[in-house]
Symmetry: C2
Subunit: 173 residues, 2 copies
């Protein structure tokens, strides 16, 4: 599936796995949208990924060690989880979000999360990674008394929605 080490550069190594639009989009939806199942990813996809592309990307990401796949029997619901390597893609997502925020425009609705994540600084990113470890790896958060970052993000998102529109329902997990 992927016999292509074009060079030994660290950036190139990352690019070989992540330098593909759909891989990043899939990871984003799993991270921020908490999608864990094939059809969940298909159904809520903002960008409209096709089933064959999703299938191939999931396979690649599992092979690359960014996702794990619980091997349920055929026909049953399969759960995809982030591995530690997958969770550590979060800082890259944040960097991409910051750049997009600064140099591209987009729907304010969808910019809120990126803005919050930018303003939260490295601490929020670290906290978010802890939450992902809890969700995907079953590792308890180091300080469980802190509110979950996802709650903050969701609250900010809904505030922004209420301000912008008449107040539609959540729209995204």
């Amino acid at each position: 599936m992927d016999p292509s080490p074009r060079s030994g550069c660290a950036i190139n190594a990352a690019v070989e796995v992540l330098g593909d639009p759909w891989s990043l989009i899939v990871l984003r939806d799993i991270m921020f949208g908490n999608r864990r199942h094939f059809r969940e990813l298909i159904a809520h996809s903002e960008e409209g990924i096709a089933t064959n592309i999703l299938a191939s990307r999931l396979k690649q990401l599992v092979a690359a060690g960014l996702l794990s796949r619980d091997d349920a029997r055929r026909g049953q619901r399969v759960t995809y989880s982030l591995t530690e390597a997958g969770i550590q893609v979060l800082p890259i997502m944040v960097a991409l979000g910051n750049w997009g925020l600064a140099h591209r425009d987009g729907e304010p609705r969808l910019r809120v999360r990126a803005a919050l994540l930018r303003d939260g600084g490295p601490e929020l990113v670290a906290a978010m990674m802890d939450e992902l470890r809890e969700l995907h790896l079953g590792i308890p958060r180091p300080d469980p008394d802190t509110p979950r970052p996802s709650k903050q993000l969701q609250a900010a998102y809904q505030t922004a929605m209420r301000d912008a529109t008449g107040g539609l329902s959540d729209g995204d997990s």
Copy 2:
């Protein structure tokens, strides 16, 4: 060339421009290898980019506002420069490099830079961006007494080379 705003998400906006292996590789070579001309990019490419691909990517990156192109007369040497938006891709490169360093292996020779950039922290990244502004935009560095980060990187690279091999000449830049 690129009429595809698939969604208004900030991450997606970045991915539409940068979510392509070759675009990132080209930007990396311009940033870290200080390549400014077409044939320079072709000749020193670790990964062996083809001329048609390079041409199309340069065109895209200029159109997207990450690069500028000085319009010399036909047949003359054209210089590509990073714009401010292009320079601000550096943190993404660093994030990618960190990830590659942690989760992929590669030639030690090429890992040195990424490691140094990781260990230098946000200050080194900021200093590096200042140096890129000097090189590409002609904006003087805020503290010109500081040694240029590129010198640090190059020194570390050569030390690593000397340690690893018999001591070949620079190999890059």
